[in-house]
Symmetry: C2
DNA sequence: CGACCATAGTTGACACTATCAATCAAAAGG
DNA sequence: CCTTTTGATTGATAGTGTCAACTATGGTCG
């Protein structure tokens, strides 16, 4: 096997992870697509979050982000405040409800990761993540997270 | 954070790879979505390919596979022959045109992989693939779909 | 100031991917 | 036969990704 297995492997892995995560999310009684979850977490991690910064961080189209944010806001999970220095922009913050959800989500995500990495020896996950980031950077260079 | 980086890492990686691959495919003048490419390759690799076996191999919904196969056939890339032992099923084989396309695709894919793994030391890719498979197996053990 | 371009965000259109339920025909097994 | 499985298909619907056009504001510079 030279290398072409990578394609299938990647698909298989992400599909497996997404599926597992989605099930966990649903079991927790949360009705939110994965992209929304990721955006919400991104907002929570970044006190200066704007639509643009979230799009950049997630490396997704800003159009997509706009729609996600709209739904997060409609769901009462985030709030938008006027940006103090730029009236085109808005600062995004999780609402109280959003914070509570994030806590739940983190538990679910950790559970999914635990399931997936249960066959890995200590350190192998970190090694895997490092390699994955190295590869992703080779395609779309990113500044530090 | 302890490990939740995995989620973002996986998204970033597959997104980067898909994007890179899609660009390569388009540059090669091929007009075919990635799922179709993967299905076509799967068929080529398996002389006994049926819709079901491809679905199982790719761990995708049969419905999705059916549609992909339909389009591959419409594009003249594969042919369907009656299955000798089961009249519900059909054996799938790449057409001559399909074979030619596959050769092109493999070059494109190898190029994408080369780009992505250029920062990896020898053996690290194999290590990565092994870890990824281990993780995927932990979520969808042997039997899936 | 006013012309001009860049940026933040929004919207519309569309293609691709995933999931689920229902259906049909053929196979398998009493 | 009749019932249950299985391979494949279809329809419906949701989620995701990409591109282009657009609005409004900001920044620059003559």
């Amino acid at each position: 096997m030279s290398t072409p297995a990578l394609s299938d492997t990647l698909h298989r892995l992400t599909h497996a992870y997404k599926q597992r995560l989605r099930i966990g999310i649903r079991n927790a009684g949360i009705d939110l697509p994965i992209t929304h979850v990721r955006a919400l977490k991104g907002i929570a991690r970044n006190p200066e979050a704007t639509a643009g910064s979230i799009a950049a961080r997630m490396q997704r189209d800003k159009a997509q982000i706009t729609r996600v944010l709209k739904e997060l806001e409609e769901g009462g999970l985030i709030t938008r405040q006027a940006h103090p220095a730029d009236r085109r922009s808005q600062l995004l913050r999780p609402s109280r409800k959003g914070d509570i959800l994030i806590a739940k989500l983190q538990a679910v995500e950790q559970e999914a990761i635990d399931t997936m990495t249960r066959q890995l020896k200590p350190g192998e996950l970190q090694r895997f993540i490092a390699l994955a980031n190295l590869m992703a950077d080779s395609v779309t260079p990113s500044e530090g997270d």
